[in-house]
Amino acid sequence: MVFRKINSTDIYENLLNLKQITFEITDACNLKCKYCGYGDMYFGYDKRESKYMTFQQIKLLFEYLFVIWTKDRPASEIPNTYISFYGGEPLLNMNLIMAVVQYLEHQHINRNFVFSMTTNAVLLDRYMDYLVAHNFHLLISLDGDKAAQSYRSDISGRNSFDKVYKNVKILQNLYPAFFMNNVNFNSVLHNRNSVEGIMTFMKKEFNKRPSISELNTSGIKPDKLEKFEKTFRNKMESLMLSGNCKKISEELFLSDPRTHELLLFLFQYSGNYFKDYNSLFIDEENFTVTPTGTCTPFGKKMFVTVNGKILQCEKIDHSFALGSISEEGVLLDLNSVTENYNYYLEKMEVQCKSCKRKKSCIQCLYFIPCIAKKEKPVCPGFMGDTAFKYYAASCMDYLKEHPHLYAKIMNDVIME
C-alpha cells in the first residue's frame, strides 16, 4: 500500500465523471428545527439570511462543466449525474428548480440528469404533480410519529408533524408507484425518538425503511454543548435498547453501525475484496491510496452554497470552499485545490503511516480539529496497535455472532 498525493488531473477526471451536484438553492426554511445543523447550536456555516440562489449562478456552473463534459470522454457512455436541490427548504425556491429542470432537459449533452431533493415536505402538496412528472427522487425528513417529530417545528413553534404526515399520505395515495420507487425518508435520532420507534412507524405508515442519522457531532458551539448532549442519542445504544434488536438489526443491515463497520473491515482486511476487475491486476504492496478517509475533491459530489461557494460536500465547514461562482463566472483553480488538499494530507501523513487502521480509514480530514491552522492536527480516528487489535477483534466477534453476514456482504453488497 503506497500513499500518494492527488494531482489536478485527478480532480479534472472527477469533474469529467461528476456523479452529483447539490445546490443549496436557498438558506430560507419554513421550519425551525431545534437541532438544525444551520441553527444556533452550531458554527461553521455562512450566516443564514434567507437568500435565494439565482438561475444565472447555476447556469454559469453548467456552462463551465459543459466544456469539460464535451471535451473529454467520461468513463461511462452516458453518465448519470444527480442534480440535487437542498436548503434551507428547497421547495421555497420552486421557480428556480423548474428553470433548472427545463434548462437541463433542453441541453444536448451526453448526460442523464436525475433530479433529487431533500425536503421537509411542508409544501409537498403544492408541487408534487411537478415532482412526479419530472421523476424526482425525494428524501423526506421525518423523525417518526408526532412526539418524535416535535423538534421539527415551524416558525411559531408548532410541531410540523400533522402537515408533513398529511402531505406524505396524499403523495402515497395519489402516486403509489412513484412513492414506492422514488421516495425515501431520513430520520434524525434524538432524545424524543428511538431506532425501534422510527423503524416501526415508517414500516407501518409507509412501508419504508428510513435512513437514520445522528445529530451532527462537529461544529457545536461550546456554550451549546450541554443542550447538544441532552438532545443527542447514539444510534448503536438506541438499537441495543430495542425490544427486538436482532430483527431490527437484520432489517437495518448496513444501516446497523456494527454491520457497516464489519463491511469496512471485511472489504479492507480480508484480502478478498476488489473494487473492479482492474484492481485484480495490482499487488497490494503497489496499491496507491491517498491518506485519510477523505473523498478526493468532487470524487463523489460537488456542493454549491446559496452564496456561490463551491465545496466538495454539504457536510463540511464552508470555510473549506474550493472555489466560487460569481458574476464573472466560475472560479475554480484546480491547481490551487490540489495544493490545498495535498497540504492537508501532508499534515496528516506521518500519523496516517503509523495508523493501524489506515486501510479502512473513515476519517474525513475536514473534520480533524486544527487541520487548517498552524498547530499540529491530531486525528481523532487514529489507531495504534492495541486499539486496532480491539477494533479487529470486535468486528470478528460480531461476525462470529452473525456468520451469515460474511457471504451476504461479500456476494450481495454493491456500494454506491
Binding site: 468513463a75 476487475y277 460474511y406
Partner: protein, 398 residues
Amino acid sequence: MKQVLTLFPDTFLWLKASAGLLYNAKTFISDGFNNTPVLKSLCSALLFVDNLYSIEIEPENLTAEETEFVDLIIRKKYGFITDHLEKAYSLPPILSIQNDIKKLENSPSKSFDENLLKYLTTLTIYTGGRFPGPSYYRQTYYPFHSESRLEDSEILNFFDHIHSRYIKKINIVFSHIESTNFLISLSGKLKAAAPKVVYYCHVRELSDNITSILTLLDVTTILICEYEPAALTALRDFLEYHKGQHPFEFNFLIRSQTEYNYWEHLVSQYEIKLYKYIPIYDNNYAFFNRFVFLNEEDITNTTLSKRIVFAHQAVNINFFGELILLPDGLVFSNVNKPPVGYMQDSPYDLIKNELHKNYAWRVIRDQEPCSECVYQWLCPSPGQYELILGKNNLCTIK
C-alpha cells in the same frame, strides 16, 4: 474433548469428484488428497460459509483417514486446531468484486455500463502490409500480411476516435516498413496519448536507417526473431553492430528444441538481457507436449498469491483490457474469435460487446476438463494455444 479445526484465510480448499486440493497462497504449498466420502463430509463442513472455515472435532472419535487429514492441515500449516472455541474463525477466500458484471446486471440501482471505459487499457494495432509468411499473429505479436496497410492517418484517426484517459499501453505491430516517416510521425502522437508505446518489428525488416530511427524514438522496440535464414542474418548483423549495448528487446519464436538451443546460445554469446521465448505451434505437437504443456509438478510448483488465484477465477489475465485493430478495420478482443466491432464504432460499444459476448476478457478455466480438475485455478488463464490446438487445457493431467 471438543476442539475446533480452522483453515487459514490464505488456504484454498478445492473439491472435485474424486480429488481434493489444499493450497496455501502464502506459503505456496499444496497437497492433493482423495475426496473420499469421509473427507468429503469433513471438507464440505469446512466449506460451508457460515462456519467461517471452522468445524468442531473430537480427535478421539476421528477415523484414521480423518486424523491423517487433520494432521496434514496442521503439519503443513493449512490451518490450526484450538481448544478455545472463541478463537476459532477465519475468513474463507470468497472473491468479491464490487463492479462484477453479473452483480451489476442484477442490481436495480447500478448500471452495467458504469465506468466501462476504465477497462480498456491496451490498444494493439496491426499496420498490415506485405509480409508473406505464416499466420503467427494468431499466437503472438507478429506481422500481419495484407495487400493494403493502414495509413498513419487512419491509425491516428482510430486512436483519436477511441482515445481515453485510461489507455496505458499502445502496441503497434508493423509488417513491411516502407518508410521511416511512418515510424516517426506515429511515435510522437502516440507517446502523448499513452504512457507506454511499444513497436513490434520483425528483425527481417531492419535496415541501418530503420534501426537508427528506432533507436532515437522514445518508444520501446521489440524485435520479433524467427529461426529462418534471412531473419538470422539480419539479427546477427544487428547484434554484431550493437555488441554489448542492445537498444531493443527481443521476442524469440520457438518451434523446436533446435531453435531454443540456438536462441539460448545467442542470448549468452551477445549477453542479451531483455528477451522472451515465445513458443509457436506449427504442427509441432510433440514439441508442445514435451516443453509447453504443464505437468502436475509444474502446477504444484507455482507460487500464486491469493490475488492471482482470484484473478484466474474472474478474468483472463492474458487478454483482459486489450482491443486489437486489424488492417481491414475490424476490432477484436481476441484475433482467434469473431470481431467485437469496427474501427468506426464507439469504444463503449466495443467494450460492451466484449463484456456481453466474452470472447476473451473473462474467459476462464470453467470448461471441461479444467472445470473437473482440482488445479483449475492454479493453472494460468487460457491463452491462444488452446484455441489453435482446439483443446481447452494445456496440461498433461487430464
